[in-house]
C-alpha cells in the first residue's frame, strides 16, 4: 500500500536525478573542444527563427485578451487607465516567458524528442558511440545551448507584441485615454520586471531542451516508443516549467 503510493514518487526522483546528470554532462562537454558551432547555429535557427511566427501569434492575442479582461475589472472602480500597466506587467513578468516556453515546447521540444527517439531506435545514437564520438556532445549540447540563448530573445518578441496588442484593444477599441494608458505603463513597469522575465525564459529554455532530449535519448521500443517519448517530453517539460515558474517567481519578486 505504502509502496504503491511511493512508487511514482520514487520514479520522479530518479528521473530528475538522471536528467540533472545529463544536463551537467552536456554543459561540461560544451566547454571541451572541438566546439560544434554549426550544430548550435542549426538548432538556434530551428528553435528560434522557426518559432517566431507562433510566438507572435500567441503574444499578440494574449496581450489583447488581457486588455479586454482587465478593462472589465478596472471599469468597475473607474480606473481603466491601469489596463496598460496590468498588461505590460503580466506579459513581461509572467505570460511572456511562460507562454513562449510552452509554445516552443510544443513545437521544438516535441521535435527534439521525436528526432532523438528515432535516432535511438534506428541505432544512429549507437553508431555515434561506435565511432568514438560522444552522442550527448553532438545531439544534446547544441540543443540545450540553442534553447538557452533563443528563449529570452523569443520572449522579448512576445512581450513587445503583447504590449502592442493590449494597446490596440485598450486604446483603439475600448477607448481608454491614451495618455493615461502609456503614462501608467511607464510608471509601474520597471526594467527589473523585464530582466527577471528573461532570466525565467532562459531557465525554461534549458528545462524544455534537456527534458525533451532526455526523453528522446532513452527511447525504447520502436515507433510506439518514439510516440510515447514525444508525449512524455511535452508533458514533463510543460509541468516542470510551470512548477519552476512558481519557485523562481517566489524567489525573484
Amino acid at each position: 500500500m505504502i509502496k504503491a503510493f511511493f512508487a511514482p514518487l520514487e520514479k520522479i526522483v530518479r528521473e530528475f536525478g538522471r536528467v540533472s546528470m545529463m544536463l551537467v554532462e552536456s554543459i561540461l562537454l560544451a566547454f571541451r573542444p572541438p566546439f560544434k558551432l554549426n550544430y548550435i547555429f542549426k538548432q538556434m535557427e530551428f528553435i528560434g527563427v522557426h518559432s517566431v511566427f507562433v510566438v507572435i501569434l500567441t503574444g499578440v492575442f494574449t496581450g489583447m485578451v488581457l486588455a479586454l479582461q482587465s478593462y472589465y475589472g478596472f471599469r468597475k472602480f473607474s480606473s481603466e487607465g491601469l489596463v496598460g500597466a496590468t498588461v505590460a506587467l503580466s506579459m513581461t513578468r509572467e505570460l511572456g516567458p511562460v507562454l513562449t516556453s510552452l509554445m516552443v515546447t510544443g513545437r521544438a521540444g516535441s521535435a527534439m524528442a521525436a528526432e532523438l527517439g528515432a535516432m535511438r531506435v534506428t541505432e544512429q545514437i549507437d553508431a555515434l558511440t561506435v565511432m568514438a564520438l560522444n552522442p550527448i556532445k553532438y545531439l544534446v549540447t547544441p540543443r540545450v545551448i540553442a534553447a538557452f540563448l533563443m528563449l529570452p530573445l523569443l520572449t522579448v518578441i512576445a512581450d513587445f507584441v503583447g504590449i502592442v496588442g493590449g494597446y490596440l484593444v485598450g486604446v483603439k477599441l475600448l477607448g481608454i485615454n491614451e495618455g493615461a494608458y502609456i503614462d501608467k505603463m511607464i510608471k509601474f513597469v520597471e526594467l527589473n520586471d523585464i530582466y527577471n522575465g528573461l532570466v525565467k525564459a532562459a531557465v525554461f529554455g534549458i528545462i524544455l531542451s534537456i527534458v525533451s532530449c532526455y526523453k528522446g535519448f532513452y527511447t525504447k521500443g520502436g515507433a510506439e516508443g518514439v510516440g510515447r517519448s514525444t508525449t512524455e517530453a511535452v508533458v514533463a517539460s510543460s509541468v516542470t516549467i510551470l512548477v519552476t515558474d512558481y519557485i523562481l517567481t517566489s524567489f525573484m519578486f
Binding site: 553508431a127 558511440t129 561506435v130
Partner: protein, 254 residues
C-alpha cells in the same frame, strides 16, 4: 601460435532474471572472417555489442589487441573504438546527412585531412561498394541493400582493423543478400582485416566464413572451420544445420 584479434573469456550477461550470455569463451583470429551463428533472440547482438563496449558484462573479460576493454573508462575505450568499424542491422546511416557526408563524417571528426583528401577517400570507398554516383542521395532515397552498402563504406572509412557486422543479410531478398555477402568476402580478401559477423542465415554465412562459431543457450557450443562444423556430431549443431535444409531439396550444399 597464431595471433588473436579478440579474446573473450568467460563472458556472462543477464537482463533481469534472463541469462543471455552464460560463459562465452572465444578467440577470434586476426585477418579472418569469423561468423557467429545462433537463433534469433539468442544473444548474438548482445555479444557483438560487448565487443565494442556498448554493453558492459556482468562478469568476464574481453581482450582486444592486448587490452582488456570491459574495465576501461570511456576515453580509453574510445581509443580502441577508433580501430573498429561496424555495420548495423538497419545500417544506422545518419538520415540528416547525404551519403557522401555519412561516409565523410568519421573522417572529418577523427582526422585532420583536407576536404579534398576526404573527397578522394569517400569516392574510393563508394567505388568499393559500387555506389560511386550516389554521393548526393539521402539515405531515405536508397533501398535496404544500398543502405547496407553505404553502411559498409562508412565502416571502412577510417581503415579499421576490426569490422563488426550485425545481421548483414537480414531483411534483404536472397539475390541482394548474395551481393552483400560477396562484397563482404571481396573487401575482406582485399583488405585482409578481421571481420566478425553475426547472423542466423547459416547458408549464406558458409560462403564467407573462415571460422564459424555456434551460439546456443548463451554458450559457444561449436567452433571451427565451415568444413569441421558441417561434419560435427554435436546434436544441437546438427539440429541447427538440418533446420535450414529445404525439404525435398537434396542439393547437397550443406
Amino acid at each position: 601460435m597464431e595471433e588473436k584479434a579478440i579474446r573473450i573469456v568467460n563472458l556472462h550477461k543477464s537482463f533481469g532474471t534472463q541469462k543471455v550470455l552464460n560463459g562465452i569463451n572465444l578467440e577470434i583470429e586476426k585477418g579472418k572472417t569469423t561468423v557467429i551463428i545462433g537463433k534469433s533472440g539468442g544473444g548474438k547482438t548482445v555479444l557483438l555489442k560487448h565487443l565494442i563496449g556498448l554493453i558492459k558484462p556482468d562478469e568476464g573479460e574481453i581482450w582486444i589487441n592486448g587490452a582488456e576493454i570491459t574495465q576501461l573508462k570511456d576515453k580509453e575505450l574510445n581509443d580502441i573504438r577508433v580501430g573498429f568499424g561496424m555495420l548495423f542491422q538497419e545500417a544506422a546511416l545518419f538520415d540528416s546527412m547525404d551519403v557522401f557526408d555519412n561516409i565523410a563524417f568519421p573522417l572529418r571528426e577523427h582526422t585532420k585531412r583536407s576536404e579534398k583528401e576526404i573527397e578522394r577517400i569517400v569516392e574510393e570507398k563508394l567505388k568499393h561498394v559500387g555506389l560511386l554516383r550516389f554521393g548526393d542521395k539521402m539515405p531515405s532515397e536508397l533501398s535496404g541493400g544500398m543502405r547496407k552498402r553505404v553502411g559498409l563504406a562508412r565502416a571502412l572509412a577510417l581503415d579499421p582493423d576490426i569490422i563488426l557486422f550485425d545481421e548483414p543479410t537480414s531483411a534483404l531478398d536472397p539475390i541482394i543478400s548474395l551481393t552483400i555477402l560477396d562484397l563482404i568476402k571481396e573487401t575482406q580478401t582485399r583488405l585482409n582485416k578481421t571481420y566478425v559477423v553475426i547472423s542466423h542465415d547459416i547458408m549464406g554465412m558458409f560462403r564467407i566464413a573462415d571460422k564459424v562459431a555456434l551460439l546456443s543457450d548463451g554458450k559457444i557450443i561449436e567452433y571451427g572451420t565451415p568444413y569441421e562444423v558441417r561434419r560435427s556430431k554435436n546434436e544441437v549443431t546438427m539440429e541447427f544445420l538440418n533446420a535450414t535444409k529445404i525439404p525435398g531439396f537434396s542439393g547437397g550444399e550443406l
